[in-house]
């Protein structure tokens, strides 16, 4: 019951300027660390989606999702375990071009990691890798000895295995308003 588990919180919302602040305030008020946070357009026009990763107990995550859903501009919020979602992270690695030619080993690392080379210039090249945390992390460690100029990893993006039914909620609202 009180086991700390990794949860992905998914929020569908209106695109309101203050909403990001409002949602982060809910975590701040309860002194909860956000492990990762990403936001983007959702599958529905003018509806935004937040994906937040936290380590919490089920009881606590349920309560915080209720608090999030209570916000006027939030359409619906969910929480899922890793098993209930398909999730990925993206990472970019900027490496000196000289090491690509001087160190043969680096070419094998890229090949084995199934990473993509995004761009190559005389000075640097950029590799992109999408996958689980341990995969992007392994590549970071493997590349480190060759001089990583920059490394950045995105927040988790995730889709749930079960349907979320947002269009239905919005349609119901529209129908109610027609009546």
């Amino acid at each position: 019951m009180s086991d700390i588990t990794r949860y992905t919180i998914s929020i569908y919302s209106e695109n309101n300027v203050g909403l990001l602040n409002r949602i982060s305030a809910i975590f701040l008020k309860r002194h909860i660390d956000i492990l990762s946070f990403s936001t983007s357009q959702s599958e529905i026009q003018d509806v935004f989606r937040f994906v937040i990763v936290v380590d919490m107990t089920e009881v606590s995550v349920r309560k915080i999702v209720q608090q999030i859903e209570k916000q006027v501009d939030v359409i619906k919020a969910f929480f899922h375990t890793d098993e209930e979602t398909i999730f990925q992270e993206s990472a970019l690695y900027k490496v000196k071009s000289s090491s690509l030619f001087e160190e043969r080993q680096i070419q094998n690392i890229i090949k084995e990691s199934h990473a993509n080379i995004v761009t190559v210039s005389p000075v640097f090249f950029v590799i992109e890798k999408t996958g689980f945390r341990h995969e992007t992390e392994k590549l970071r460690k493997d590349l480190a000895p060759y001089g990583l100029l920059q490394f950045v990893r995105s927040g988790r993006i995730s889709v749930s295995k079960a349907p979320m039914g947002i269009s239905e909620i919005l349609n119901n609202f529209n129908n109610q308003n027609k009546e």
Binding site: V17, G18, N21, R22, Q66, E69, K70, D73, N177
Partner: protein
């Protein structure tokens, strides 16, 4: 939205027209640079919109709260940008935690100056976000009608709360085609969850099987205007009912099934018996920690039924075996028809027994003291005598608040105005101004401690200017009494910064031309209260009470409701 015969007006005029469309005829506020265009319109519309100039913006919010609580309407407060806006924050936070419908309008620096650290610029949207139900910054006049309509809709619907609308000065000046349409829904917001009859059925089954059921009701009954349904439910089911501090007055004090207050300074019986009942029916209350004490020993033996409008409150503090989501007016109506008529004589007799114990150990000494010094309890009893329980009682925060709520008598709803969740000292004086304006034909008595009184004492100026006939009773013990009580009980009587050297309150009141009187002796009390109640003008009464009296019963912080102390 079609723009039929649009009318070119300024954003500032639009704000006033929106208020009028929402039926607002009274606002509290304080002018300043960034809201001057709106104030200019207030001047022009002064025959339709009455503006009360409080002496501090905090007073405007508390007055708007008091107005909302007695009238059942949305209170409106206005302030300028910067310090005007930040001064609203305490009242907004109070309204948020006590679910009071309020719309605050703040002026903001012109949009091209946003983020430039301009004069009197502050990020009031950022600051107010955690303490508002909703907030929005308007930078274009064309947004005003839709946003204002939404603000009022959100503030009053579902679980009510405060909304803040920040309007840049350029938007106030801008001309646009005005067209107002009331808001009837927001697609991302479900104010009232639909009633599920299976939830009602299951709860009714549990109630019908109960041998020792108990009801605890909260402000939801009042906010949901469900007093009649609640009374009918209590009477049909025959279940003893106790109240939280904000639920007070929803059921008359002398109702035979009203068994008193729960919580830290509540009554002995309902607190003890919370841990003996087999079914606990919570109606429109949220199991605040001041109600429950230690959660791990709270009503563990009971099946909990929770009637609640806000899904986030279900199982937040106390697990609900049978939640009933919805407006309690509807859910109570549904419950009434599914519960059996009940008689619980033996169980109710237990409340009576505990009541007698509490009377002998506490109440007797509070109300009929034999010692020389006046008690807060006898002052409240005297007020009861002359109001007949028909007054609106506005209280501040501390000992006097607990004593007033314990002993004040009520015969009608919406009569108790207090700062519950936030515990805002300084609430009562401005709230009483609003309470009286929201219930003009009623007697409004503010009962305040000497500490809280001085936090917003400048609102005497508002009373002086508006002539609003509030009755102010300061129960003066020259201490911050509740903190002193804790210092006595838990900090070995180290009275750190709780003793107050007070001014001559009567002289201060008279400076504002408010009739005033001081009582120091028992034999003067009744006559003074009578004079105050019979006055049709504002009146100030200082009652000098025993300095080191304590409020009992008491559940110490972190203790169980069964560990309630009588001394």
């Amino acid at each position: 939205m079609k723009n039929k015969k649009g009318l070119q007006i300024t954003g500032a005029e639009a704000v006033i027209r929106c208020l009028l469309e929402e039926g607002v005829d009274l606002v509290y506020g304080y002018p300043g640079g960034a809201i001057m265009p709106i104030y200019d319109e207030i001047y022009k519309f002064s025959d339709q919109l009455y503006h009360v100039l409080t002496r501090h913006e905090q007073g405007a919010t508390h007055a708007a709260q008091g107005y909302a609580r007695t009238s059942g309407r949305v209170g409106v407060a206005m302030a300028t940008s910067g310090p005007g806006a930040t001064n609203l924050v305490t009242g907004i936070a109070d309204a948020q935690i006590d679910s009071t419908p309020m719309v605050c309008i703040t002026g903001q620096v012109a949009s091209h100056l946003l983020g430039s650290d301009a004069f009197q610029e502050t990020d009031i949207i950022g600051i107010s976000t955690p303490v508002t139900k909703w907030n929005y910054q308007i930078t274009k006049a064309s947004e005003i009608p839709e946003i204002m309509a939404k603000a009022f809709y959100i503030a009053r619907s579902g679980r009510p709360g405060p909304v803040l609308i920040d309007i840049t000065k350029d938007a106030q000046f801008e001309l646009f085609d005005f067209n107002y349409k009331k808001c009837s829904g927001v697609r991302s917001y479900q104010p009232v969850p639909p009633l599920q009859m299976d939830q009602v059925k299951q709860a009714a089954d549990a109630i019908n099987k109960a041998k020792k059921p108990m009801i605890i009701w909260g402000q939801g009954v009042i906010l949901g205007e469900a007093e009649n349904e609640f009374k009918a439910f209590v009477e049909k089911s025959g279940i003893p009912a106790a109240w939280t501090i904000l639920g007070l007055s929803a059921l008359p004090t002398n109702h035979p099934l009203n068994v008193g207050m729960v919580g830290m300074h509540g009554n002995y019986g309902p607190n003890l018996l919370t841990n003996e009942c087999d079914v606990l029916i919570a109606v429109g209350m949220r199991f605040d920690d001041r109600v429950t004490g230690n959660l791990s020993t709270y009503a563990k033996q009971a099946k909990v039924i929770h009637l609640e409008i806000d899904p986030a409150e279900i199982s937040k503090n106390v697990f609900a075996d049978y939640p009933i989501l919805g407006n309690c007016k509807q859910s109570l109506k549904a419950l009434i028809s599914s519960v059996n008529k009940g008689v619980f004589s033996d169980w109710i007799a237990l409340f009576e027994t505990h009541k007698k114990t509490e009377f002998d150990k506490v109440i007797k000494n509070d109300i009929y003291p034999t010692k020389e010094g006046l008690t807060m309890g006898e002052a409240i009893a005297s007020i009861n005598k002359y109001t007949g329980g028909d007054a609106v009682i506005v209280t501040d925060v501390g000992q006097h608040q607990m004593i007033a709520c314990r002993y004040a008598e009520f015969i009608q709803s919406k009569s108790n105005v207090t700062s519950g969740g936030l515990g805002t000292m300084g609430f009562a004086l401005p709230a009483a101004i609003g309470a009286k304006m929201g219930a003009e034909h009623r007697q409004v008595v503010a009962i305040i401690g000497d500490g809280g009184y001085q936090m917003t004492i400048q609102e005497l100026g508002t009373i002086f200017q508006t002539k609003v006939a509030v009755k102010i009773v300061v129960l003066n013990n020259d201490y911050l009494g509740m903190v002193r009580q804790w210092q006595q009980l838990f900090f070995d009587k180290r009275y750190a910064s709780t003793e107050m050297t007070n001014p001559d309150f009567v002289t201060i009141a008279k400076g504002y031309q408010i009739d005033a009187q001081r009582v120091t002796k028992r034999e003067e009390l009744d006559q003074a209260v009578k004079t105050m109640i019979e006055s049709d003008k504002p009146y100030f009464l200082e009652v000098c009470v025993e300095k080191e009296d304590n409020v009992f019963p008491m559940i110490p912080t972190g203790a169980s409701v069964s560990d309630i102390r009588l001394e």
